[in-house]
């Protein structure tokens, strides 16, 4: 018994050390490929994130220098007792959820419609993708015009339909909805392309088989096709949510200030205001950390999912 264990132990030892050498060699051999990128990413992304976190623990403000003697979570306490922070945080979450759902649903609809077109004749994809290629500075300004009370195309439509005219940007109740609509307009095309890529991987055979069996088209999509698009939806969803957290550019393009109209303040604009206008660096940094955690909260389930299905 004992000799046997010794033997296997020895065998394990030698095979382990061989393995270790192999891994070591591989890691070394591939070093040129990973070391530089890893270093740069480490420095400029994780280094900056870490530095930002450290700043958020200080009470740095103005043009002073941070003192690291007393690190605490005061700024986070301040954030959660600041009504403006809670309001902006709530807006951020509403924007995130509604915008993502709208884009995923509309994108899917468009993708299915276009998919039929592609399977049968030409392609129209580019038209739908066009808004995505526009800069926020352009779309922000264009939507501001479209929402104009007197001349805006939105009010032209509502007037034509006999619904009357509406204050859209000037109404704090619906401004967030208006911004979500504008953002969705820009991102639905992108979502659609992600879905289309997924749809293209589904072979025509499945359609033909279902049709031979006499199944109606919508039932084919509902029962066979859409369930296969889960991965596309997940990856599009993650990207959309991360974009939603960064709506800052869009709002700045619209309003020309870091303080958007009443009802449309989000954490990103608040963070810039606190840090760069009021010079409350530590408070701004703590808002940034909270935003980062929100982004992380979105990404990590996705990464875990990918890990579980052996994609990474």
């Amino acid at each position: 018994m004992s000799t046997e264990t010794e033997n296997t132990g020895e065998a394990l030892d030698s095979s382990q050390s061989q393995l270790r050498r192999l891994i070591g060699a591989d890691a070394i051999k591939s070093m040129p490929f990973w070391l530089l990128p890893a270093f740069l990413v480490g420095l400029f992304i994780y280094g900056a994130v870490l530095w930002n976190f450290v700043i958020s623990l200080t009470d740095l403000q103005g043009f002073g220098t941070p003192s690291f003697s007393q690190l605490d979570f005061d700024m986070y306490g301040r954030a959660f007792s600041d009504p403006q922070f809670l309001f902006a945080g709530q807006n951020t979450i509403v924007l995130l959820v509604v915008f993502t759902i709208v884009c995923l649903v509309l994108g899917l609809g468009l993708a299915i419609l276009l998919d039929q077109d592609i399977r049968r004749r030409g392609h129209l994809r580019t038209i739908y993708l066009l808004p995505f290629s526009l800069a926020f500075i352009v779309t922000g300004q264009v939507w501001l015009w479209m929402y104009n009370y007197n001349y805006g195309v939105v009010n032209t439509f509502t007037r034509a339909l006999g619904l009357g005219q509406y204050q859209i940007i000037g109404n704090s109740q619906i401004i967030l909805g208006a911004i979500i609509t504008a953002l969705a307009w820009q991102f639905v095309g992108y979502t659609m392309v992600v879905y289309l890529a997924g749809l293209r991987t589904i072979p025509d055979d499945q359609f033909e088989a279902a049709r031979v069996a006499g199944v109606k088209d919508y039932r084919i999509y509902w029962k066979v096709i859409i369930p296969q698009l889960k991965a596309s939806a997940a990856s599009a969803g993650v990207i959309l949510m991360v974009f939603a957290l960064k709506t800052f550019d869009f709002l700045f393009a619209m309003f020309g200030q870091y303080r958007p109209q009443k009802g449309a303040d989000i954490l990103a604009t608040m963070m810039v205001r606190e840090a760069f206008q009021k010079l409350e660096w530590a408070y701004g940094a703590s808002i940034a950390v909270i935003l980062f955690l929100m982004a992380l909260g979105i990404i990590s389930p996705y990464i875990y999912y990918q890990y579980k299905v052996n994609e990474i």
Partner: protein
């Protein structure tokens, strides 16, 4: 790394070398980063080492010996300003051109950082100063706006009392308000380049005549209301044009109304933190009555677009700074025929003071060049060239107004003879930047429709 000996192929070794070089560079960058944020005490040495690395050689020195000028260092003169379009751009270009003629051997790097109300420029300057990487000169509002720099534990702004203000007796030529707003604890840190008047009420003369009203008779903000009613009753125009795409214009209008209703002293008490809730409530209330006459699309139009409504005859009155006159000139509208203006009701004995200035940061990357820049900015030539394009007025008392046209000449005369010159609130002269941001928040949250008078008034009092 230690394993590298076991596979001595050349390719890999050269890779390693490259990586080693890169990591040395990276470590240097890291050290630079932590130096920036970490230690403030060695700010001076940081600044100067930045010069050396950014330019490399000091060959520029040979250029500087040509003239009587002292030893310039090799760093180009970097100036940041907010004028990226329209009259402002022509104005700064005229100054740059003149500066090049005056100092042909100074290499410049003059950059416009544009956006409404200096939002982006101020942010960039804050960032650069916080990182101890100041430009040679930057544009800002003088007065309270600069207190954020003066109150810092680090010396952020340089003293140009001797080098600029006492050179050629510049100090004697400037008006007192300009000097007061440029000086902190007896030392000058900035040179104003021009001033706009802010308490203007513009109107379209066609609209006014069709409505049958005479704005010249209006004596208080309340008196304007019947006139706006007449405009709306007798023409297609709205009573008052307004831009509410952000809250600053609302803040500005309220400040004008407060001055008009309660006078100079009440306003000065207010900005000094001794405001009276009752009087503020009254002026906020009055502002909300004005709002009934705004164009309905106010929340989506910018200040120039709101001005367009005056030009098109879609609105009767418009309160803005006198920079809006540039728009009328650009559209060939004649002063006195197509458009006119009065001082905002109740403020005919005041000139609400707006000012732009160039600031001299401490640890200046190009100190001698920056001194030349500030001297030039304060010169007669620069003040005339800048202001005639910008539609503002020079702050020197010894310049001739020949080139300025009737509107600006009138403004200049008012400026010289008027009783009070209250500093503007919405454009940074009256309160510190943090207070200004908070005031805008008060208006954003409570006064962009629906108009909550009590909350706004209380917010104003609490903020200042």
């Amino acid at each position: 790394m230690s394993n590298s000996a076991e596979g001595p192929d050349r390719e890999r070794r050269s890779y390693l070398k490259a990586i080693a070089a890169a990591s040395v560079f990276g470590t240097g960058a890291l050290a630079g980063c932590s130096g920036d944020g970490g230690s403030g005490s060695d700010g001076g040495s940081d600044g100067s080492s930045g010069d050396g690395s950014s330019d490399g050689s000091d060959g520029g020195g040979s250029g500087s010996t040509d003239q009587s000028s002292p030893t310039y260092n090799s760093t180009a003169l970097e100036v940041l300003h907010p004028w990226t379009g329209g009259g402002g751009q022509n104005a700064i270009n005229a100054v740059i051109e003149g500066f090049h003629e005056e100092y042909p051997d100074i290499e410049t790097d003059i950059r416009g950082v544009g956006a409404t109300a200096n939002v982006q420029l101020n942010q960039m300057v804050n960032q650069r100063l916080a990182n101890q990487d100041p430009p040679a000169a930057f544009n800002a509002w003088p007065g309270a706006h600069l207190t954020q720099f003066m109150q810092s534990s680090r010396q952020l702004l340089g003293d140009i009392t001797e080098s600029v203000w006492q050179h050629d007796d510049m100090e004697g030529a400037f008006v007192d308000e300009a000097k007061e707003l440029s000086r902190f604890d007896g030392r000058y840190v900035t040179v104003p380049i021009g001033s706009h008047r802010l308490n203007n009420l513009f109107f379209n003369l066609d609209v006014i005549e069709s409505a049958g009203v005479t704005p010249e008779d209006v004596e208080s903000p309340g008196d304007l209301i019947p006139l706006m009613e007449e405009v709306e009753a007798n023409t297609d125009a709205v009573g008052m044009a307004q831009s509410m795409v952000n809250a600053n214009t609302q803040l500005q209008l309220w400040a004008a109304i407060h001055l008009g209703m309660h006078g100079y002293q009440s306003y000065m008490d207010l900005i000094n933190g001794e405001g009276d809730l009752q009087s503020v409530t009254e002026s906020v209330e009055m502002t909300s009555r004005y709002a009934e006459f705004f164009n309905e699309d106010a929340s989506t139009v910018s200040p120039p677009s709101a001005n367009q409504k005056i030009m098109n005859g879609e609105a009767g009155f418009y309160h803005q700074g006198n920079w809006m006159a540039g728009g009328y000139n650009a559209n060939d509208l004649t002063y006195g025929e197509d458009w006119g203006w009065i001082a905002f009701p109740g403020t005919s004995n005041m000139y609400t003071l707006h000012m732009d200035a160039f600031v001299y940061p401490n640890n200046n990357p190009a100190p001698e060049k920056a001194i030349r820049w500030h001297r030039y900015v304060g010169s007669k030539e620069a003040q005339v060239n800048f202001n005639k394009h910008k539609g503002s007025i020079p702050l020197r008392t010894d310049v001739s107004m020949e080139e300025f046209g009737p509107f600006l000449t009138e403004t200049m005369e008012d400026f010289r003879n008027i009783e009070y010159r209250p500093p503007t609130l919405a454009h940074g002269l009256a309160v510190a930047p943090t207070t200004l941001v908070n005031l805008r928040e008060v208006f954003s949250s409570n006064f962009m429709g629906p108009y909550e008078v009590e909350a706004t008034a209380q917010g104003i009092i609490d903020t200042i």
